[in-house]
């Protein structure tokens, strides 16, 4: 028993976090709000690919790192912490194990009707009845949607979109189920990262902001709001890591563990967003402060890849069959 990242896992996570600290500051997230379709930062994506982030789950023989979810999940946390706008969960966690390495930007409708970064994607992984297919974005009718978080750059399939020419990927229910669980767990990891980022930013802010002659962070009510966030995170992150282990080993508790991770990550991130905004006050309620980038991503992801009710019911079904 060793419930901690290995030195390798930690080094990989830290390397990605270092890259993102440089290449994905809030300004880069803002850039993704404004960039025209197709203009999502490819250089950063290339760096992530170069580090192997996008092919962690691809066998070495196929040009990947041949590692498992316990390596990728901590990295996805780091991506959440930077509010990385790219569809890294969709590409690295969901598509890569099915489609292989070097697949560019891939998005999918497995997590919900609004495909993130659909306006930038090189390939689409789509559900078609019980099957998964790979489609060329140019060949499928996509309708952009206006999202609160504009860095989602989302679109949805036009009603009656024609997938007859799409390339079959799998019709194996176990593979489809695993893809769904990978998406949910990857998103849970991103949410943990977002929550951590909102907590860190707020802690820094309330230490510095003074009202009534003292730091706002010295008020007991503010302390308790933020202690509650720390409390949730302290008990959510292990659930996410444990689910990565379960998924990597394909243990029989997979549905239970992944859904518990997503349900708890949803709750922790929602709590973090609420506390962060409230403790920032009016400054947080502007688009000039960076906080809103994290808030809006959180509100989108808590309801993508299954909301809290969905995953809680799935845990209930696993526990009380």
């Amino acid at each position: 028993m060793r419930f901690a990242l290995s030195p390798d896992q930690e080094a990989f996570r830290d390397a990605v976090a270092d890259l993102l600290a440089k290449a994905c500051p809030p300004a880069a997230v803002r850039a993704a709000w404004e960039a025209p379709p197709g203009q999502l930062d490819r250089s950063l994506w290339g760096d992530l690919a170069g580090m192997g982030v996008l092919s962690v789950l691809v066998p070495e023989a196929d040009g990947g790192l041949g590692l498992d979810e316990t390596y990728l999940v901590p990295v996805l946390e780091a991506c959440g912490q930077a509010a990385l706008p790219h569809p890294v969960v969709e590409t690295a966690m969901v598509a890569a194990p099915l489609l292989g390495a070097d697949i560019g930007i891939v998005t999918t409708d497995l997590g919900g009707p609004n495909l993130p970064c659909a306006v930038d994607a090189d390939a689409l992984l789509l559900r078609c009845g019980d099957r998964l297919v790979r489609a060329d974005p140019a060949a499928v009718a996509l309708e952009p949607v206006e999202t609160v978080d504009r860095a989602r750059r989302a679109a949805r399939l036009a009603p009656g979109a024609d997938l007859t020419d799409a390339e079959p990927v799998t019709d194996h229910p176990a593979e489809v189920g695993r893809a769904l669980d990978r998406g949910a767990l990857g998103t849970a990891a991103v949410l943990v990262g977002l929550a951590q980022a909102m907590l860190d930013r707020t802690v820094a802010y309330v230490a510095e902001r003074h009202q009534f002659g003292v730091p706002v962070g010295s008020f007991q009510a503010v302390k308790h709001h933020l202690a509650d966030v720390a409390l949730a995170l302290e008990h959510t992150r292990p659930m996410v890591w444990r689910a990565a282990w379960t998924l990597a080993r394909d243990l029989p508790t997979r549905a239970r563990d992944v859904s518990a991770a997503k349900a708890m990550a949803n709750e922790a991130a929602e709590r973090a967003a609420r506390a962060a905004l409230q403790c920032h006050g009016a400054i947080g309620y502007t688009v000039e402060a960076d906080l809103h980038l994290f808030l809006k991503r959180t509100w989108a992801l808590t309801r993508a890849w299954g909301d809290t009710a969905h995953h809680t019911d799935r845990v209930a079904d696993a526990l009380m069959p």
Partner: protein, 384 residues
Amino acid sequence: MDLTWSPQEEAFRAEARTWLEANLAEWRAACGGAPASGDTREGFAQHLEWERRLFEGRWAAVSWPEEHGGRGASLWEWLIFEEEYYRAGAPPRVTQNGIFLLAPSIFEFGTAAQQAGILRRMAAAEDLWCQGWSEPDAGSDLASVRSTARRVDGGWVLDGQKTWTTRGAFCTHLFGLFRSDPDSERHRGLTYLLVPLDAPGVTVRGFGRLDGDEGFAEVFFDDAFLADDAVPGGVVLGEPGQGWKVAMATTGSERGLTLRSPGRFLATAERLLALAARAGDPTLRRRAATAWMHADAYQQQTLATVTRLAAGARPGAEASLTKLWWSELDVELHRLALDLLGPDAELDGPWSKGWQFALSGPIYAGTNEIQRNIAAERVLGLPR
């Protein structure tokens, strides 16, 4: 105890309902069907048309005396009007900061000349008033205001900065607190001033609120000259140096009844029920019933409050409880709406806009943390 409306009140309700239905339809048609948000430049102009229509129908400020453009309605009728207003789906009032926050102070502290010169133009949406309380270092801690007003011949010279001024970029006038005694501290030595935003030395910069609209502004005062007669009846409300007292009366209104009437939340709750009825999830259904109860409780509590006010009581610290209730109710209603929408909650639309707006409730007009302190200290009498 009598929980029925009088025939006169029912007639008032019917009149309001009829007028609102007809005029909303006309206004919407004039806007090409779907008016933009009142917190955008385009939408603000459309909403001014609506405000002028309200004024012409004498619905802009129903509780004001007729001479100032109201219809001398009772508090009960005001409540009824608000209920009908939101039930009809009428838009948020872009004039609200003047009509609901400044006007009560003008009625209480203004001279006859100020009342005559300011109120009717406010109701008619000719003068558009924004609030100038907050400064970069004075948010919840209003008494730490640093903007100054220096007395000079024939007027005041203003310096400093206000911020988070709702719809400031679209307004014509600002009301706010300025430190007129440079040696003063905290809530002493402040003066409540009425400032045309076109005064020389005043600069307004709009900026984006959480929901992306340009709903906020910063207002800079650089040796700005405010002539004594820049506003009819004079630019000082109350006495110089007594600004805190006047402001407290206004923030009392902000927290209390006049800012957020129950009608608005009941209307939201009704829309939520329609959403939940379609959803079929038993937990969400139960949460919708609970949210509706909380909206209904706000209505019932308001009826009890208005009964006391109608009998001559002054609004007290209970206003803190009211502010806590409606602001957290609004968050509850919209969070549930997003949960009902599921993955489509992220789409830009009325519910996601409403959610973002609701999140401002626990922050502005004194954060809910401060309201809880006030409730504990002044309603329950706990030690400071």
